[in-house]
């Protein structure tokens, strides 16, 4: 019983982390129609920035803020000076460009920060809460993670659904020329989209790192599962990203605990294919039936 509870709770925490990363992908997808593979190394770099500050004796929260801020800047810079030149052109070239960035950032981080393992602090406790005389697998930091992701999700839903800014961002992602004719500052929207996405990505980096080990590849695992989570949810939907993340985290945790951890990636594939065969556009896909 306790094993199940532990497995489920850790699955949820894991899922929330996937969800955080998936939210960043969704944001960038909605704002620019690009899948950003470089999201993970960008978050890795900003986490290192936080770590450098914390190691220098500053508080966790200063590092936290610095990471988010540098994420914002990094996202904007990458969009403005690199991605801008392929946006709206061939889809695959954009994908390859972000892959190239992935490799570059990785190598840079290894050169600048070294490739050894380093531990990253957590702002809240890492001991499970005590209920009676059992300890449940939910920690203060876990609660913080869940809350942070929920806040981001709600924020994104409000941004896209409720605000003119969100509307403008979506419009420029779909059709740059028409958007410009409608007075949307497309360039600014794209930069903003990347900046915000990189900020959310940085948050996910901090959440994954918190109370864990950091090295240049520490985010690589989440690239696959975060992407799968986003795709499960339908890529366009922040709520979908969170549901996809939770579904994935939970199932993978159960598979790992009761079947075998080597089958975790296979389970991810099976879940994804099962969902996509029923709904080729993901769980929360907006119905797009008309083709002619």
């Amino acid at each position: 019983m306790q094993q199940l509870l532990t497995t489920v709770l850790t699955g949820v925490t894991l899922g929330v982390v996937y969800a955080a990363f998936a939210l960043a992908l969704v944001l960038i997808w909605r704002a620019t129609r690009i899948v950003n593979f470089a999201q993970a190394p960008m978050a890795m770099i900003t986490t290192y920035i936080a770590l450098v500050l914390i190691d220098a004796g500053y508080s966790y929260w200063l590092g936290f803020a610095a990471a988010l801020l540098s994420g914002l800047v990094l996202g904007a810079v990458v969009e403005r000076f690199v991605v801008r030149f392929v946006s709206g052109k061939s889809e695959i070239n954009a994908v390859i460009l972000t892959l190239g960035l992935f490799i570059v950032l990785h190598a840079l981080a290894a050169i600048v920060f070294g490739s050894r393992y380093r531990s990253f602090p957590a702002p809240f406790g890492l001991r499970g809460f005590q209920i009676g005389d059992t300890t449940i697998a939910l920690t203060g930091f876990g609660v913080f993670t869940v809350v942070a992701v929920a806040v981001v999700m709600v924020g994104l839903v409000l941004l896209f659904r409720g605000t003119d800014l969100g509307l403008r961002m979506r419009a420029s992602a779909f059709n740059q020329e028409v958007s410009r004719l409608l007075g949307v500052k497309v360039g600014r929207m794209l930069t903003l989209g990347w900046a915000l996405a990189a900020l959310v990505g940085s948050l996910s980096g901090l959440l994954i790192a918190g109370g864990g080990l950091v090295h240049p590849s520490y985010m690589d695992g989440v690239v696959v599962y975060g992407f799968v989570a986003a795709v499960l949810g339908g890529l366009d939907s922040p709520v979908g990203a969170v549901v996809g993340g939770l579904l994935l985290g939970l199932s993978l945790s159960l598979v790992s605990g009761y079947v075998g951890s080597e089958l975790v990636p296979l389970a991810a594939l099976v879940i994804l294919m099962a969902v996509l065969l029923l709904k080729p556009g993901g769980l929360f896909a907006s119905v797009r039936e008309r083709r002619v």
């Binding site: 306790q2 094993q3 532990t6 497995t7 850790t10 894991l14 966790y60 190598a107 290894a110 070294g114 490739s115 050894r116 393992y117 380093r118 531990s119 990253f120 602090p121 957590a122 702002p123 809240f124 406790g125 890492l126 001991r127 499970g128 005590q130 059992t134 300890t135 449940i136 697998a137 920690t139 203060g140 109370g211 864990g212 080990l213 090295h215 240049p216 590849s217 690589d220 695992g221 993978l252 945790s253 159960l254 790992s256 605990g257 009761y258 075998g260 951890s261 080597e262 975790v264």
Partner: protein, 419 residues
């Protein structure tokens, strides 16, 4: 010959050797997921070779050490080994790291008759079949004898413990389990395996907890030691821990755990207090050991950037053994000659290892034993004398014969050529 070919005369090969140099090489993961930690080993090698070279080299020859990155990907290992053998024309491979990676090239090296010395991995396959792989030698104690020694100690000292295994899902975990089961079969109540790369080990630890385990035996790498500690903290699981040597480097694990704090884990060293492990080399926790003093000196004089670490100590210790082997091969070493020399006199090499090597014509397995230690405040305190054994049902016995070795004063071995 067939097709009218001239017949080549087979003599000892001296590829890679000149009058003033000897070129050796190895593959290590310098990039990628396995790079943290392991990428430091070659810098240990390099520092020691630089030290030896600065002191005149071996028989007047300077050692050139060529390191190639394989990113822990066997396909790359194969390519860089081709490069080392065919392009750089190394005399021998020394210290090539990793079980899956080195598996890719072991046959090739043997086919090409390139000495494949002191593989950085405790898999049995480097030493157990000298007939099929005459050029390959292991170095560290293999995981099976480590499993045996741990199993035997637990069976004797904690006969009532309900043991759970926490295993990396490969040769490492499998060989360790095999050794441990020889003594502990009836005590083992649960086995949890993790796949490297999957950092969520909560399901595995929860499984051990659910089985009522009160002693966990871990055959895992250091980062998973940290992860397993953290998860246990999270779910309130408080067994005794026994990590195999690979996973236990207290300096490293301690520093990894150092930050998992902010109120929760205040003192990281104390988190590891009472954890048991094994040791076969003096390491960073024993700065006063004469070997460690030597390594510190070498590192200070010739080391690259950064601190001395246990990975670098591992590399220097391997390098030391290689220098011994080269000396044993005599004034005019050949590839066949060095293999023969290690088979003949390797078992008597005196080095930092606390147990003797098992090198003979019938076995190319490395160090034969280790001692069981308990970590207190970041230091491994011996619980046993040195215990040595071999594969299969070879009994475990105490053997302190190699534990007292001290380095020569100049820090360079002086092995006589094998007859």
């Amino acid at each position: 010959g067939a097709g009218g070919r001239p017949e080549g005369e087979e003599k000892g090969s001296t590829v890679g050797i000149t009058d003033t140099t000897i070129k050796i090489g190895a593959h290590f993961p310098l990039t990628g997921v396995a790079a943290p930690g392991y990428s430091e080993i070659p810098s240990g090698h390099q520092a020691y070779y630089d030290y030896v070279n600065a002191n005149g080299g071996v028989n007047g020859r300077k050692i050139e050490f060529v390191v190639k990155d394989d990113g822990y990907n066997p396909t790359n290992t194969s390519q860089v080994t081709n490069e080392l053998v065919l392009n750089d024309e190394i005399f021998a491979m020394v210290g090539g790291l990793g079980t899956p990676t080195h598996s890719a090239v072991v046959d090739y090296l043997n086919d090409a008759k390139v000495p494949d010395l002191f593989v950085s991995s405790g898999s049995l396959q480097w030493g157990d079949w000298p007939k099929e792989k005459p050029f390959t030698f292991g170095w560290q104690p293999d995981y099976e004898i480590e499993g045996k020694i741990i199993g035997d100690w637990v069976a004797k000292n904690m006969p009532d413990a309900k043991v759970g295994l926490f295993l990396q899902d490969d040769d490492f975990g499998r060989d360790g389990e095999k050794g441990a089961r020889r003594y502990l079969d009836s005590q083992i109540v649960a086995v949890a395996k993790y796949t490297p790369g999957n950092t969520d080990v909560a399901p595995q630890i929860a499984q051990l907890q659910a089985a009522g385990v009160d002693l966990v035996l871990g055959f895992n790498v250091p980062s998973y030691t940290a992860l397993s500690q953290l998860v246990s903290l999270k779910i309130g699981f408080k067994p005794k821990w026994f990590y195999s040597n690979v996973g236990s480097d207290p300096a490293l694990v301690g520093s990894l755990l150092a930050r998992f704090s902010e109120g929760a884990v205040t003192d990281s060293a104390s988190l590891l207090n009472g954890v048991m492990s094994t040791e076969y080399l003096p390491g960073m926790d024993a700065p006063d050991d004469p070997w460690m003093k030597l390594w510190q000196k070498v590192w200070d004089e010739h080391g690259a950037d950064g601190e001395l670490t246990n990975y670098r100590v591992y590399g220097m210790s391997q390098a030391y053994t290689f220098v011994q082997a080269l000396q044993a091969a005599g004034q005019d070493p050949t590839r066949e000659g060095i293999v023969e020399a290690i088979e003949k006199s390797g078992a008597s090499f005196e080095g930092p290892g606390i147990a003797p090597f098992r090198y003979t014509g019938d076995s190319h397995l490395g160090i034969s034993g280790m001692s069981v230690v308990e970590i207190q405040n970041g230091i491994g305190e011996d619980l046993t004398p040195v215990l040595v054994t071999d594969l299969g049902d070879t009994p475990i016995k105490e053997d302190d014969s190699a534990a007292g070795d001290a380095p020569p004063s100049n820090g360079i071995p002086d092995v006589k050529p094998a007859e």
